[in-house]
Subunit: 434 residues, 2 copies
């Protein structure tokens, strides 16, 4: 059996942990046989000394194997998954999964609720009345075989070692270490069993990674882990310096995803879906290059197959698919308040996480795990970076229910939007590809 | 109130902790309001980033103040104390305290039991039948005022923060950090309330500090802390590459201390007592230079005052002082076994900690806190480094009671003694002075 004190000392002094040592350490920690105080010292030693590729892969696989893993082998064909590091207005899965599965990609996806400016994919899908996120593994697999896609909630037993370790890192100042961040994300992703994984690493004021260098480093690290685990991998580094699309807020985002599947979505969000989608098609072996893959997706949007696939998926999981074809049926917030330009000029920037917080203050996101989300509230932008505005023009509409919350949220949003004299130009959505 | 996660991050990134932050952190940790897993991450961050002089002093004083501190102000004159970092055959306090108090130095000393090759000073003193180590603070102070010295056991409430923190560091690979080592020692020493402190930093194979550079660094660090706390400080770095004196083992060492107070002790041990003692006399303002102080001590040995002072001290604490004048009354171990030279030559080295372990294997020391010590067992060397030997000459005598333990212990001792062809010369006891 390993002696944890010796292992900490080895890493502390710059040594390399053996694969078997990492495996046993994570197994014992998950079982409660290694105390938190030793693990936090180890995490701090890793913070300074790092982990090499072999150690990082071993840690990821050990965390993956600490709980249940999905066996998708009963699904015919290549199963593709997508993971985003998260941002403001990120409704990507809701449009992307039906889009790619409409051209033949098999999507068997687990999603979380999580904390943040809005709910997770799972919360957003629950905007469809009747939608069921709790599937058995058998239901999940047979639905993918029958309809091409399924999205279910994460089980509690998915990578429990990661859950325990992340909670510890969060209170011991050991979060910001590349190998630890990458292994945390990838352990959960790998436990979900897909063959091909496209990563969307967000970069900018609304993302965990604020600059392109650190986003690129994380993308490279995750791709390395995925390839080490035998997966087809691709990573895109995409802009999150302003909110994605126009809508921030659960139902508002679902509506925007529906618009996008009809070919009427925001330019940046549509581009992102095509970028990520074409890579998923490519990694699944259904096209020979990005151009061909993208054309397949555009055709599916144009002839309505993508939208129909969303309806089929919602219906398969017990949801009311009539909402897909008539989004006016979704519940609206009781009130709206419009943010207008206080001078002529150009939208210079929208501070992304501040805009997200404004939406969260309306009740659209969770601060604590047991907070209840108000699905109908949020923000719809009418202008984005680089748009010309005249004094009095509407910049954004806030949708809210609770009149006691609007003033503080409105002020926060006002401060997040900067209007300048010069045209700053638009940001490109794709910053790099790994 | 401090947020521990922020404090860890600050130190992790090379920042400096405020005095007030350190104070509150130690207070909360002692009270159980900061969990071990945060403190161990902090210790690991300190391992890499270090503490500057101000932080180290603040940590020491916070740990000192985490429990009871002795107020010695009711004792007339300057109170001097000595601390040794520990080694094999270190019976120094038992000879040194009576020696210096016989010339007027006030010694109010707390000593521990501790783990190691032999018991602590307190265990050794209990070789005198009836000796009482549990004094109230009033008894302790009045005994020093009446007889010039007292030695009592450490109370449980002495620097409890250090006790808790050391136990944590021990299992998280965060022991070997200079500021942490120095503050741990000094917090307890400062809690004992002396005005002048002479440190004996051991260096060599039998010491915690194996080389002169690290011993010197620790000595400098501790002297800085002591001066920062307003104490008169001196540190000697002394050799611990072979056992100190001839005797290793509790009663055997007490007998050797008695011999030394009679002027018949081993050369190296006598020299050490005179070196440390003269510094205590000097820091107490009772002599104007080392030479004068040493002459005072030599005179006290020569005319029997030093030995009488030991007897007075033993009697004051309820012990049978007749043993001081007739050490043959002490219990002897049942058996002896002699290690002889297997060839002609010179004693090249005695591996110090191996010799200590051999004695411990006979039952003379504690491995765990509740082990019971056999006071009569141990080793008496008859030859030391640099002595010429002929094949068959006696090198050391092992004293033992348990016949099942002797063979392994004897083998260990045999392997610890190296005989070579050339005279290696003797080691000097004083290596440096701070």
């Amino acid at each position: 059996m390993i002696r944890m004190t010796d292992l900490i000392q080895k890493k502390r002094d710059g040594g390399k942990l053996d694969v078997s040592e990492i495996k046993e350490m994570i197994m014992l920690y998950t079982a409660g046989d290694i105390p938190d105080y030793q693990m936090s010292a180890m995490m701090m030693a890793i913070f300074y000394q790092g982990l090499d590729d072999e150690e990082t892969l071993a840690l990821t696989l050990a965390m993956r194997d600490s709980g249940d893993t999905l066996d998708l082998s009963a699904i015919k064909g290549i199963k593709a998954d997508k993971h985003s590091t998260g941002g403001v207005g990120d409704k990507t899965s809701i449009a992307l999964a039906p889009l790619v599965s409409s051209v033949g990609v098999k999507v068997a996806k687990m999603s979380g609720r999580g904390l943040g400016h809005t709910g997770g994919t799972i919360d957003k899908l629950e905007s469809f009345p009747g939608f069921n996120i709790s599937l058995s593994e058998e239901q999940f697999i047979s639905q993918v075989n029958e309809t091409g896609m399924a999205i279910m909630g994460q089980t509690k037993t998915l990578a429990p070692a990661d859950k325990k370790l992340y909670a510890l890192r969060d209170v011991t100042a050991t979060v910001e270490q590349l190998s630890l961040i990458a292994s945390s994300i990838m352990s959960k992703k790998l436990a979900c069993g897909a063959d091909a994984i496209v990563l969307d690493v967000k970069c900018g004021s609304g993302a965990f990674m604020k600059d392109i260098d650190s986003a690129r480093a994380l993308a490279i690290e995750m791709v390395k882990i995925g390839k080490g685990a035998g997966k087809n991998m691709r990573a895109l580094i995409t802009d999150m310096d302003e909110p994605l699309g126009f809508a921030v807020g659960n139902i508002l985002e679902v509506k925007e995803a529906i618009d996008t599947l009809k070919g009427k979505g925001p330019e940046d969000f549509t581009e992102l879906c095509l970028l990520l989608g074409s890579r998923m098609v490519l990694l699944s072996g259904l096209a020979s290059d990005e151009k061909e893959a993208e054309d397949m997706l555009k055709a599916s949007i144009a002839d309505g197959r993508a939208l129909d696939q969303l309806a089929r998926f919602v219906k398969a999981q017990g949801g009311d698919d009539s909402y897909v074809y008539d989004p006016s049926k979704f519940e609206n917030a009781a009130f709206t308040k419009v943010l207008t330009a206080d001078k002529d000029g150009f939208v210079e920037s929208i501070i992304c996480d501040e805009a997200g917080l404004a939406s969260m203050m309306l009740g659209g996101g969770r601060e604590k795990k047991d907070d209840i989300i108000d699905l109908s509230v949020g923000i719809v932008f009418e202008k984005k970076k680089g748009d010309a505005v005249k004094k009095g023009d509407s910049i954004a509409v806030m949708h809210y229910n609770d009149e006691t919350k609007i003033d503080a949220a409105f002020e926060r949003l006002s401060n997040a939007v900067k209007i300048g004299e010069k045209d700053p130009g638009r940001k490109k959505i794709l910053l790099d590809e790994i």
